[in-house]
């Protein structure tokens, strides 16, 4: 399965040839040790001074100014031309579009008590489209998935989610494809757009929820725009990459035959890059789905609503069942988009008979029409039957299981939490957050330089300046401490499980589906039982982030270790290396670039969970973002916190990407 989460800022730059690598490496390690020693000494002497701590209720001028801007925008909403007509127009067009589709497929089209097309018709149409675009197996998958939504008791919500995702992805294609084409043709555009895409992916969704609501109001429009912001970048990046990597020889050949640039694009580049573009579409769809739960907070229709609602009554069972529907939908869309991209080549290879295909299509089409008619005529084909209900027994089973886990492991985990918090997290946080800000800034710049070279100096300094300017330095350092501890745990898990999976096909087959599920399951779902185990603590928030980030890291490490040439491994074994020696001396060092990449992705994924983690005791920047979303008076501070998280993310990304480029080549 290819449920890779959205690729974030992953642009390996070619590494300079390692000259005197050994010697300069040693010098760098010495310098690093020196910096760390100076840091600890400085911390011990100056602890708690000039660390820019700011109480939760205190606001800076910047925060108040942002709040004031919000109030003014809100007041101007009705009499400002731009806000009223342009933004208002977009907003009502989106609302109207989603509502139209809902009345067509999922929600009662008042005064009809049911939608225009009932469940039977929707399933039949979906199967028909799936067969047409992706073939028989996907058609079966789609049928089973759609029926599962209904049998689990979430028919309407599932179709709503499909609609919102569909509209958002549709707009992504309209904006993203032309942008990707433009980027593939102009380096300057690439240079301008790339940082914007970085910010879009690093900025926590909670941070832009409040401003979006300000402009688009609560409801489907805001939900679509939120989803759009988060889901657009992968499509743009991947399609630009795909178009750029169309072989230059082919292009030259076509140009020399006299093709215009437009013909070149339509007849050569786009068809040749089709597969890559669809990979981008696949990533974009997955990203859009993962925004579902968050969009529910601003009244976005879909499966997020039951998840959020179940959390209020602590109903792990219901939350899991609606979460399961999201997972099923993710698998369905993932498989459908991937297969659609492979379709043409597969058809050619298997010599599928086009006449048979056309006949099946025609039959399915007629069946779909009949189903639509039936679903408009008879109530039982219009409203999904409540019996049999698979959702309730499943929810009950999950509830009793999570009760058992809590009863059995409750005491143990509390001690573990204390151990990690007091032994690792608290000292580390103190080191980062209680050092004077100037010392901390100097240390970060020095470490960045030593790890990644002079190219990261400018971005690091700029990001640190932004964090300082946000007035939330101390909170940012606390968040950084949590992020680093989380990433450390992710890497431990990533290496241990990744190596295991790479060496054993059985382990791989058993673990991979679990990883896929973890990547698509909304984090809210496993947060609640976890609170019972770990209490509302920072450690709990870190655990949630680790669960979210580990699958990516594990997959990357697995691929990296597996890519180490078998001959090398055999040679090592023949020379008498034990398994342990083979792993530590051969496989891991040779998979070094995969390890650094895993660390990069791990960091960014952990950071992206900072805000969600704050719902269960994570504190610091994440808490401020939620606070700003929830409490009007804290809007400005929340927005500043969102910007600080973004700056932190961009900085960490730059440092790891350049470190990878420098040391990553095995």
């Amino acid at each position: 399965m290819t449920l890779l989460s959205p690729t974030r800022g992953r642009r390996a730059t070619p590494s300079p040839a390692p000259t005197d690598a050994q010697e300069s490496g040693q010098r760098r390690v010495l310098a690093l040790v020196g910096v760390l020693a100076a840091w600890v000494v400085g911390w011990a002497l100056l602890k708690g001074r000039q660390n820019l701590e700011l109480a939760v209720s205190t606001q800076t001028d910047l925060h108040r100014w942002l709040l004031d801007v919000r109030d003014r925008v809100e007041a101007a909403r009705t009499d400002n031309f731009f806000l009223d007509y342009v933004v208002g127009g977009v907003s009502s067009a989106l609302d109207g579009g989603v509502e139209f589709l809902q009345q067509l497929f999922s929600q009662p089209a008042f005064p009809r008590p049911v939608p225009e097309i009932g469940w039977l018709g929707v399933v039949a149409l979906a199967v028909f489209v799936a067969y047409a675009l992706a073939g028989a197996r996907i058609a079966v998958l789609v049928a089973v998935s759609m029926l599962a939504f209904g049998l689990l008791g979430y028919w309407e919500e599932s179709i709503d989610l499909l609609i919102v995702t569909g509209v958002a992805v549709g707009i992504c294609v309209l904006i993203g494809l032309p942008l990707g084409i433009w980027m593939s043709r102009s380096d300057r555009t690439t240079a301008v757009v790339t940082p914007v895409l970085d910010v879009m992916q690093t900025m926590p969704a909670f941070a832009y929820l409040a401003p979006l609501v300000l402009f688009f109001g609560i409801g489907p429009a805001s939900a679509v725009v939120t989803t759009l912001i988060y889901a657009l970048p992968p499509l743009v990046r991947i399609s630009a990459h795909g178009l750029r990597s169309v072989s230059p020889t082919t292009l030259e050949a076509t140009t020399s035959l006299g093709s215009t640039s437009r013909q070149l694009l339509a007849k050569v580049q786009l068809p040749m890059a089709r597969r890559t573009v669809i990979v981008g579409l696949n990533q974009t769809t997955m990203a859009a789905l993962s925004m579902a739960t968050i969009a529910a907070l601003i009244d976005g229709p879909g499966l997020g609503e039951p998840v959020v609602q179940a959390l209020q009554s602590l109903d792990v069972g219901d939350a899991s069942v609606s979460g399961l529907c999201i997972v099923i939908m993710a698998i369905m869309l993932d498989r459908a988009t991937t297969t659609a991209s492979d379709r043409a080549s597969v058809a050619a290879r298997t010599r599928e008979n086009p006449r048979v295909r056309r006949a099946v299509l025609a039959v399915l089409g007629v069946l779909a029409l009949v189903a639509v008619w039936l679903s408009r005529t008879y109530t039982r084909f219009a409203e999904f039957p409540e019996d049999p209900d698979l959702g309730q027994p499943l929810a009950d089973a999950v509830n009793s299981f999570s009760g058992w886990v809590i009863d059995t492991f409750g005491g143990l985990t509390a001690r573990f939490t204390d151990l990690i918090s007091n032994g690792l997290l608290n000292p580390f946080e103190s080191l980062l957050a209680e050092s004077p800000w100037w010392l901390m800034a100097a240390v970060l710049v020095a470490i960045a330089y030593l790890l990644a070279g002079p190219r990261v100096l400018a971005p690091t300094v700029i990001c640190l300046a932004i964090i300082l300017g946000s007035g939330l330095w101390n909170d940012a350092m606390k968040t950084l401490a949590m992020t680093l501890v989380g990433t450390l745990l992710v890497m431990v898990l990533g290496v241990v499980v990744g190596v295991w999976m790479a060496r054993s096909r059985t382990a791989d087959a058993a673990i991979r589906p679990l990883l896929d599920a973890l990547q698509t399951l909304p984090p809210f779902v496993y947060l609640i039982p976890a609170i019972a185990l770990f209490g509302p603590t920072r450690f709990m928030a870190i655990m949630a982030a680790v669960l979210y980030a580990a699958p990516v890291a594990i997959k990357i490490v697995t691929d990296g270790v597996r890519a180490v040439s078998p001959t090398t491994v055999e040679a090592a074994q023949a020379a008498g290396s034990s398994s342990w020696q083979t792993i530590t001396k051969v496989q891991l060092p040779m998979a070094r670039s995969a390890l650094v990449l895993a660390a990069n992705q791990g960091l960014l994924f952990v950071l992206s969970m900072v805000v969600i983690g704050a719902l269960v005791g994570g504190g610091a920047l994440g808490f401020l973002v939620i606070n700003g979303f929830a409490q009007g008076e804290a809007f400005g501070k929340g927005l500043a916190a969102g910007v600080a998280i973004t700056a932190l993310g961009v900085m960490l990304d730059r440092i790891t990407v350049h470190t990878a480029a420098r040391h990553g080549r095995a």
């Binding site: 609560i218 109903d315 086009p354 409750g410 929830a630 008076e633």
Partner: protein
């Protein structure tokens, strides 16, 4: 490559068009079947905000189900945090907030300045905010219930999150709270730690009672969870009117909140029968706790829970109907 795709695409297009056409001409016997209204055919849309705690849900669904089943309204429930819901009054996304806790700042902004919302009077519930401990603490250390003794036990309440002091657990940042100022002004050796949500608070209290852990935290009534675990309220210096006027200097208990209903101006003036229902709606803390318990403990869908209560209490309901 392209040849395989083409006929398929054509057929898809033809069928899609045909499907839509067929959907348009729609025959059938389920056209406008049941809008089983008892005289209120002009009710139209009714958007009820659902703020994030179960007690609220109970009130909202009782009113909502009455509007849907008895008045024939097209009811939509919208899960929204308090602030966000208020913003919806102006845009028509939200018609009613059925349980409002104070929020003087929001009243000033949306009722006085923007005039998009109006007060519709108390809903009968009395809101209590305070610090609570699990019942086992009350039995074994009853002196904990007096704030003046809290410092003696600060060590016991310490956790990995509380910076060497006792931990006072707060909930969702949206909730009305003076706790940081209180700790400061009452010279308590405690640190406020935010659990993040009602769910996290409840889960922590539940565990604390089961494992006899030391926990003290922010909590409130009406609240279904008190039917499951009978948390005990810690006494704070008595509330006198005006003692909480300066948020930084507060050193007294929270007032009793008279919870009230807020609705969009447009909705109240629309003449919808649902507006009259909202105006008449008033019930007690016990009523709300009953429905909330159905939802949270008995695991009923909120719609079913509300309908069960409506069936059991025809007299109360009759008094609200237009």
């Amino acid at each position: 490559m392209a040849r395989v795709g083409r006929p398929g695409q054509a057929i898809v297009a033809v069928c899609a068009v045909a499907g839509l056409a067929l959907a348009g001409c729609g025959s059938g016997d389920i056209e406008q079947t049941d809008t089983s209204a008892s005289g209120g055919e002009d009710c139209g849309e009714f958007n009820m905000a659902i703020n994030p705690w179960v007690g609220y849900e109970a009130s909202a669904y009782v009113v909502g189900q009455l509007a849907a089943n008895e008045l024939g309204c097209d009811v939509e429930y919208k899960e929204l945090k308090e602030e966000i819901a208020w913003q919806g009054f102006g845009t028509g996304e939200v018609d009613v907030v059925i349980e409002n806790w104070g929020h003087e700042d929001l009243k000033k902004k949306y009722i006085e300045q923007q005039a998009t919302a109006v007060e519709v009077g108390p809903n009968g519930n009395i809101g209590i905010i305070g610090w609570y401990v699990p019942p086992w603490l009350d039995e074994e250390y009853p002196e904990v219930l007096d704030w003046q003794n809290l410092n003696d036990y600060a060590d016991e309440f310490e956790t990995s999150e509380s910076n060497g002091k006792g931990q006072l657990l707060d909930g969702d940042p949206t909730f009305v709270t003076n706790d940081e100022a209180l700790v400061e002004n009452l010279d308590l050796d405690f640190e406020v730690v935010y659990a993040g949500s009602e769910a996290a608070l409840i889960q922590t209290f539940r565990q604390a009672e089961e494992n006899q852990d030391w926990v003290i935290g922010y909590f409130y009534e009406p609240q279904w969870f008190l039917n499951e675990v009978d948390l005990q309220k810690v006494s704070l210096p008595k509330y006198t009117p005006g003692c909480d006027s300066d948020p930084e200097e507060v050193a007294c208990d929270y007032p009793k909140y008279i919870l009230d209903k807020i609705a969009s101006t447009e909705f109240m003036e629309s003449g919808s029968p649902a507006a009259t229902l909202v105006e008449n709606f008033e019930w007690t803390n016990d009523d709300q706790n009953t429905v909330a318990t159905y939802i949270a403990v008995d695991d009923m869908e909120p719609e079913d829970a509300a309908e069960k209560w409506i069936e059991d209490n025809p007299d109360k309901v009759a008094a609200w109907m237009p």
